[in-house]
């Protein structure tokens, strides 16, 4: 297994696309969060109250970072199908399950580390900007990384991106084609976000709870009307369940199909 991990790690670090997509994850998370924080000001005036979820607002860039994470997870496997390099991979390492598992560990681990850097930076940069824009005490709580909910949201966001990366890896292995896999994933991740608000309430709640976006519940600190009606960790569990389902199907297919 160590040999497989070292080989897969060598592959991952020796293409430039890895560096760029990982930078994009940080850039999109921090950039979009800061952009929205800077453009938003409290309707209640400085220090006035309101029901904004400033925890979520300082991490909103995670939504956009999903694009880069999807690309990273998908390309980790589809680039090998596209170049047919997978033949070399599977003749060098005939244990296909191990190869997939090594990719799970490396793609997941990389996105966890990079996602944590992104969400922490986003939180640390975004919170003061929001405070300066009126979302401060006494109306709003001043969050720091010492607060449990802040730790949950920051670490949870990184875990959410990790789950999305693994889901993407699985879908990539199932569909074997970059464009098809990325399209399918973006539909799965963003279509519910766009159309859920137009659905009748019970349908909307079902969609919000059952699609991979449920994991965003981990960022929530205010029970607003647009909050996802699911527990913080339960929601994240839904996203991981999607990832696990996709990876299991991928494992079955990768072992069964001719390479």
């Amino acid at each position: 297994m160590m040999r497989v991990l070292r080989a897969e790690w060598t592959k991952l670090r020796t293409v430039r696309s890895t560096r760029w997509t990982l930078l994009a994850i940080i850039g999109l998370t921090v950039g979009f969060s800061v952009f929205l924080a800077a453009g938003s000001s409290s309707t209640g005036g400085p220090g006035g109250g309101g029901d904004n979820d400033i925890m979520r607002d300082s991490l909103v860039g995670v939504y956009l970072a999903q694009f880069a994470v999807v690309a990273f997870g998908v390309i980790a496997i589809t680039s090998e199908y596209a170049t047919r390099m997978l033949h070399t991979t599977f003749s060098a390492m005939p244990g296909r399950g191990r190869v997939l598992f090594a990719k799970v560990l490396l793609v997941g681990g990389t996105v966890l580390v990079v996602g944590l850097a992104a969400s922490m930076t986003s939180f640390l940069v975004g919170q003061p900007i929001l405070r300066d824009n009126g979302y401060g005490p006494p109306g709003y709580r001043e969050w720091t990384l010492h607060d449990g909910p802040a730790q949950r949201a920051v670490v949870g966001s990184a875990l959410l991106l990790t789950a999305i990366a693994l889901l993407s890896l699985g879908v990539g292995a199932i569909l074997r084609h970059s464009a098809a896999a990325i399209s399918a994933l973006l539909a799965l991740l963003f279509v519910p976000l766009i159309f859920a608000p137009t659905l009748p309430e019970h349908m909307r709640e079902l969609v919000q709870k059952a699609t991979p976006g449920a994991g965003f519940a981990v960022q929530q600190t205010v029970p607003r009307g647009d909050a996802i009606p699911i527990g913080h960790w339960t929601g994240l569990g839904v996203t991981f369940a999607w990832a696990a389902g996709a990876l299991l199907l991928a494992l079955f297919l990768v072992r069964r199909r001719d390479a």
Binding site: T10, V15, R16, H87, A259
Partner: protein
């Protein structure tokens, strides 16, 4: 240990590659049909057949990439997927274009080395061996097909394996490259390795291969030595020149040969070999200025053998 017919010592071991009743179907079409053959160590075995005959599919089954619908393929006595360090047993080049274009040549070989616990130092060695040392740090994107073939061969050699499998390795190589490749395969076999090399062009392998495994439509047509195939197919007759054409024609026709004129004083004789012709003519005192057995080229012999096996007539499929 035994000495083979070329005086080389062959260590008593299982056949390097053993295909036993291999069968592979794609939908309703049978790509490989009950195919059995062996590849011994110390020889270059050419795996030949028209495009679409099932060569690549067979190689993919040997390498565990495709699952046979029937039969099995063994490498050094074991299934490929059971090999703990497969690249130290078998080196293969299936598809030279199958490399990530954004990766440097040395990095491509490095991950392969890592995957089989091969020392990273070996990467520089094999790059040197195939003549790519100067472009080791270049990204593969800029490589010609010929350079990619060399990179693929380097990858096959990384684990210093006793068995080598090359699928159409001459594709994209320039004439220098082809000459290099031939010598290279010969030297690999001379080191005692088993080399299985496929081609749809027999002429590519004429001077390289010792043995031929000929397939068509997924079936085995012949397993033969190159020399034997040439001998069996030298239906080209015997060419002779003589100033006394009509006498010689009459004499040989009476002896049962078919004689055709091929120009002034030139005859082509089939049905009698050169020795018999010489005996007959000298017994009558008829002068011969030339007596040449017309050997079929390996290409012709191969075409005779596979003529019936080409799928869809001349419409070549790959």
């Amino acid at each position: 240990m035994t000495a083979d017919d070329r005086g080389r010592t062959v260590i008593g071991m299982a056949e390097a590659i053993e295909a036993v009743q291999l069968t592979k179907r794609f939908g309703g079409a049978t790509a490989v049909d009950d195919l059995s053959f062996t590849v011994p160590a110390g020889y270059v075995t050419a795996f030949v057949g028209p495009n679409g005959a099932g060569k690549t599919t067979t190689m993919r089954m040997i390498l565990g990439l495709a699952r046979p619908d029937g039969g099995r393929a063994l490498v050094t006595g074991r299934r490929y997927t059971e090999l703990r360090y497969p690249l130290r047993q078998v080196g293969a080049l299936l598809d030279a274009a199958a490399v990530h274009p954004g990766r440097r040549a040395s990095h491509h070989l490095l991950w392969i080395a890592r995957s089989n616990g091969v020392s990273p130092r070996r990467v520089a060695e094999v790059l040197e061996l195939v003549g790519l040392a100067d472009v080791a740090r270049k990204r593969v994107r800029g490589f010609s097909l010929g350079m990619r073939q060399r990179l693929g061969i380097a990858g096959a050699l990384l684990g210093d394996p006793p068995v080598l499998i090359f699928d159409e390795p001459a594709n994209g190589l320039d004439p220098d490259g082809i000459i290099w490749l031939r010598g290279f395969m010969r030297s690999l076999a001379a080191e005692g390795r088993a080399v299985l090399v496929s081609s749809h062009l027999m002429s590519e392998l004429e001077d390289t291969a010792d043995r031929l495994v000929v397939i068509g439509r997924g079936r085995l047509i012949a397993v033969t030595g190159v020399a034997e195939l040439l001998a069996s197919a030298s239906g080209g007759g015997v060419r002779l020149r003589t100033p006394q054409v009509s006498e010689v024609m009459r004499l040989l026709a009476a002896a049962g040969a078919t004689v055709t004129t091929d120009g002034p004083n030139v005859l082509t004789v089939t049905g009698l070999d050169a020795a018999r012709i010489a005996e007959l003519t000298s017994a009558r005192g008829l002068p011969l200025h030339e007596l040449t057995p017309q050997r079929a080229t390996l290409e012709q012999a191969f075409l005779q053998l596979t003529r019936d096996a080409v799928e869809f007539g001349d419409r070549r499929t790959s």
